[in-house]
């Protein structure tokens, strides 16, 4: 917790109008290097806005985000985004799309070097042989693979994923989750991912951040994933803590996400409770302070 690679510090997003709406405010979250964090919440709670602020595509109305000691002031090649709709340029081939990113990062590289580098990442996501196809000739899963290759090819410090697999069928989604997990574990990538899918979050994330419903959404809890780092998809549901973790998240999504703000008036957004899933009852083991370790608390 001392190594705070990414630190979201009191950001807010408001839309001014006849009635100004606050999507969220006073949002604090820290992430360590190499951590895989998933954010779960209902539609409209501002998850995508948080991601866009992290990407630098959107500016917070208040507060700041510090990444690796520097405040975000706009989009950066250090932070790659994988878009929900893959966002490939349809007039470019697979290779052209990845090479566009590569040549944007290393502007002095010659064509051959750009191509070799791009091909390496196309191969990494298992698309070798399809590099001359256009996006329209690819299936949804393949398109998203290209999106992943494009994001990885610029060797970013952080990957930001906005429901990257939500438009895919279940089988493809599973395969791609495996790939992403393998690549992220191998490269120690820091990932911030938004999802609707509880199982996806359990499989991929080190920490799962639960967000209440908007407007006025808050980060309710940070759930630590008790499953081992070398978890396998097939063994997931056999882990003794799997179901209590899953139930905890689903309980939150089904009921507590609506009532959390009313039921927890003393919720301190700077000290989002960290929940450790135990064999019996999930317990809050620590109030995660924005700056230091907080005293242990066992309460619910």
């Amino acid at each position: 917790m001392t190594d705070k690679f990414i630190s979201i510090e009191g950001i807010a997003k408001r839309y001014d109008g006849a009635r100004s709406t606050t999507i969220f405010e006073n949002l604090w979250l820290g992430m360590a290097r190499g951590e895989f964090v998933c954010v779960i919440g209902h539609s409209g709670c501002g998850k995508t806005t948080v991601l866009n602020i992290l990407a630098g595509l959107d500016a917070p109305s208040e507060g700041a985000v510090i990444v690796d000691g520097q405040a975000i002031e706009g989009p950066s090649l250090d932070r790659a985004v994988i878009f929900q709709s893959h966002a490939l340029l349809p007039w470019r081939t697979v290779l052209g799309n990845v090479a566009y990113a590569v040549s944007s990062k290393w502007r002095r590289w010659d064509r051959a070097k750009v191509k070799a580098h791009a091909l390496k990442y196309i191969e990494l996501v298992g698309l070798a042989g399809s590099e001359h196809k256009r996006p329209s000739e690819l299936s949804g899963g393949m398109k998203q693979r290209v999106g992943i290759a494009r994001a990885l090819s610029i060797t970013p410090k952080i990957m930001l994923m906005d429901e990257p697999f939500s438009a895919l069928d279940a089988l493809t989604r599973g395969t791609l989750q495996d790939e992403v997990r393998r690549i992220c574990v191998e490269t120690g990538q820091t990932v911030f991912m938004i999802t609707h899918d509880v199982d996806e979050a359990i499989y991929l994330a080190d920490k799962i951040v639960l967000m209440t419903n908007g407007p006025g959404a808050v980060l309710a809890e940070i759930v630590e994933n008790p499953l081992p780092k070398d978890r396998l998809r097939g063994d997931l549901h056999r882990h003794p803590l799997y179901y209590s973790l899953r139930n905890h998240i689903i309980d939150f999504l089904v009921s507590r996400s609506k009532t959390f703000t009313a039921e927890t008036p003393d919720h301190d957004p700077r000290k989002v409770p960290v929940v450790k899933i135990g064999r019996t009852e999930p317990t809050i083991v620590a109030s995660k302070a924005a700056d230091s370790d907080a005293p242990q608390a066992v309460a619910r």
């Binding site: 090649l77 966002a87 007039w91 944007s104 990062k105």
Partner: protein, 279 residues
């Protein structure tokens, strides 16, 4: 299946053409000797009076005359008698010049309007008022200020072809998908590179559509403009032959105007296919 459909369509086209030509031929043919008259008088009156032939030329007359024109397209016997090739070249030259000036102005300006909501709103009233003005209404003003009939025709072509390109470019640029722009932004692509690598390819199909509409309008307008300014060009040729009462030449000119218009349109359609991308 598609090949047979094409074949059947071609057959139907040919049949329709044959029916049309046949009906035309029958409607305009001679009906035999109409009256007895002295040979000198008959020679003076022509076949219309002597053999009941219609004043409207038949397809065979047109064919013969067309062959004559096609054999010598570039002859020049002074201001009122030039080959059709020369006349078409004059018209095409004016259209190309006016059109290229319009491209050079409409596409950059359209980019500006498409990228900047402020400019879009600020220029909108001007465009809305100038767009529906018939290009020929500009002609007196052009003649007065430019003081050159040929340049005025070019100006008229420019003013009529600028609007569809301007509006389509602005629309195409403004409606580039946000996510493509975001891709470029997250890759820290600079403004100029973004304009050429993302916005231009994304908007190219819409821009080309505007260019295609414009060339069509320009070719429509050149005929009318040349009838007004006179001197050279296919439009002048039509009016001149009307004054000569040569309906044959008028019909030939109409046919050629259609053919050239089609070729211009197909050329841009071909370019348009090159920049279109499937999604």
């Amino acid at each position: 299946m598609t090949a047979s459909l094409r074949l059947r369509a071609a057959v139907v086209s040919i049949v329709l053409l044959a029916v049309f030509l046949g009906a035309w031929h029958i409607a305009t043919r001679s009906t035999g000797t109409a009256a007895n008259m002295s040979p000198e008088y008959a020679k003076l009156m022509g076949m219309t009076a002597t053999q009941g032939k219609s004043a409207m030329p038949g397809p065979l007359d047109i064919g013969a005359k067309l062959w004559e024109h096609l054999r010598r397209p570039f002859y020049d016997n002074g201001p009122n008698d030039k080959g059709l090739g020369i006349q078409l070249a004059y018209s095409l030259g004016r259209v190309m010049l006016g059109y290229l000036i319009a491209v050079a102005i409409a596409i950059p300006l359209g980019f500006l309007i498409g990228m900047s909501p402020l400019m879009s709103k600020a220029l909108d009233p001007f465009i809305q008022i100038l767009k529906p003005i018939s290009p020929l209404a500009w002609m007196p003003l052009a003649l007065y200020t430019i003081k050159d009939s040929s340049l005025s025709a070019i100006f008229v072509i420019f003013i009529c072809s600028v609007w569809p390109m301007l509006i389509n470019t602005a629309f195409g640029v403004a409606s580039v998908r946000k996510e493509w722009i975001n891709v470029a932004r997250t890759l820290e692509v600079g403004n100029i590179r973004r304009a050429f690598t993302v916005i231009l390819p994304a908007a190219a199909p819409t821009i080309l559509t505007g260019m295609r509409i414009s060339i069509g309008i320009a070719w429509l307008v050149i005929v009318a403009a040349e009838m007004l300014v006179g001197g050279t060009g296919i439009g002048y040729f039509v009016w001149n032959e009307w004054n000569n009462l040569s309906i044959t030449n008028v019909i030939i000119a109409i046919l050629l105007i259609g053919v050239v218009g089609m070729v211009l349109d197909q050329m841009l359609a071909r370019v348009s296919r090159l920049v279109t991308f499937p999604e």
